[in-house]
């Protein structure tokens, strides 16, 4: 018997959307989970970029995917071949709406269960904090400080540039290199 999940992973986004749209409620749980696995990380990333909140991004991902599934079932998604665009559009719409979050939480938990379902790629899905710390220690001082100011203190390049007596462009270049070094180190390809 073929592994159903592995089979689903080979299905295109469009075909997945068609199955959900065509199936009676309750008969496409696996397809819905696969759609969630594929798109929740993208919606989360979008949410973090626009909401500046991890919790808000997690909520957004669930709400957007729930609404997408409901719309698919109702036959309200016109271009199934562009399901990604539909999900992005829904993300934009819900991100700009302030009437979000609490009222649907119970329904979301009921549908998706554990809200911490791991959907990140396996190579970096379970990052060891100690390993990341070791790799941060291995960075050049300037690279580490730019990463800390960006991703911990949440400062943007112009502010960091002013602080470090650099140009904003130089800050971005340092950040690009720092991220590449950190990624190589964490995935085993580089220092420390």
């Amino acid at each position: 018997m073929p592994d159903i999940q592995a089979t689903l992973e080979a299905v295109s986004d469009e075909a997945l959307a068609r199955r959900i749209a065509a199936g009676p409620a309750g008969s496409t749980d696996l397809e819905e989970s696969e759609l969630y696995r594929r798109f929740a990380p993208r919606v989360r990333l979008y949410g973090r970029r626009h909401l500046r909140s991890n919790a808000g991004a997690d909520d957004l991902a669930q709400e957007v995917l729930l609404l997408t599934i409901e719309r698919l079932r109702a036959g309200e998604v016109q271009k199934l071949e562009q399901i990604g665009s539909f999900i992005l559009g829904t993300s934009r719409m819900m991100c700009h709406s302030e009437r979000r979050v609490v009222r649907r939480r119970e329904a979301l938990v009921a549908r998706f269960g554990d809200t911490s379902i791991e959907t990140a790629p396996p190579s970096l899905s379970s990052l060891d904090s100690g390993r990341v710390a070791a790799c941060l220690r291995g960075l050049a001082e300037r690279e580490r400080l730019v990463l800390l100011l960006t991703y911990y203190a949440e400062r943007e390049a112009p502010r960091i540039a002013e602080d470090l007596n650099l140009s904003p462009g130089a800050v971005r270049v340092i950040r690009h290199r720092a991220i590449a070094h950190l990624r190589d180190c964490v995935t085993g390809g580089g220092r420390p």
Partner: protein
Amino acid sequence: MTAPGCDRIALADLTDYTAGELSGPEAAAIEEHLFACADCAGRAAELDALVRAIPAAFRSAEVAGFVTDDVLNRLARDGVHVRTFVLSPGAVVPCAVWDDDEVMALRLRADFGDATEVTMTQRVEGNEVVRSTGRVTGSSPGEVIYTVPAAWIRDLPVVNVEVLLTTHEEGAERTIGSYTLAHGGRFLRSVRL
């Protein structure tokens, strides 16, 4: 539909995206592609996981280095116990961290002149144990801030730590300031008087 192995979005662009530093149209173009391309979305998710791991790794207090007040303020907001020592040149300061301290911050004050970079060395019983070069920052003029995991300090015996700040000017090394941390060993909150 994009081809397998698509790498249309460079790591640098994804980095700028995660840092929130692209213009609206630039960010929108990346988002359009990410929602249509599983390969690029996968790489974006990896990067996202990496940058989200940075705060936890730093808060774990296993990372030493030069920081600014922005970083110290964030540590304070996160409830991290920071023990701060303010040192002027020539100072000999009794130094200890308590059992619940997580990070030690050294505010090393000096006349930096035109220096934009300084090198800090720490010596214990004549042996150099730390050498680090960092930027002189504009946000806290007249000082640089260096953080050390408190656990590292707790593990030291009763000993003096000589701290030296230098800079390179016209090919020569100039001393900016020297400081002494007289480490008194591990302090336990439960026996504090």
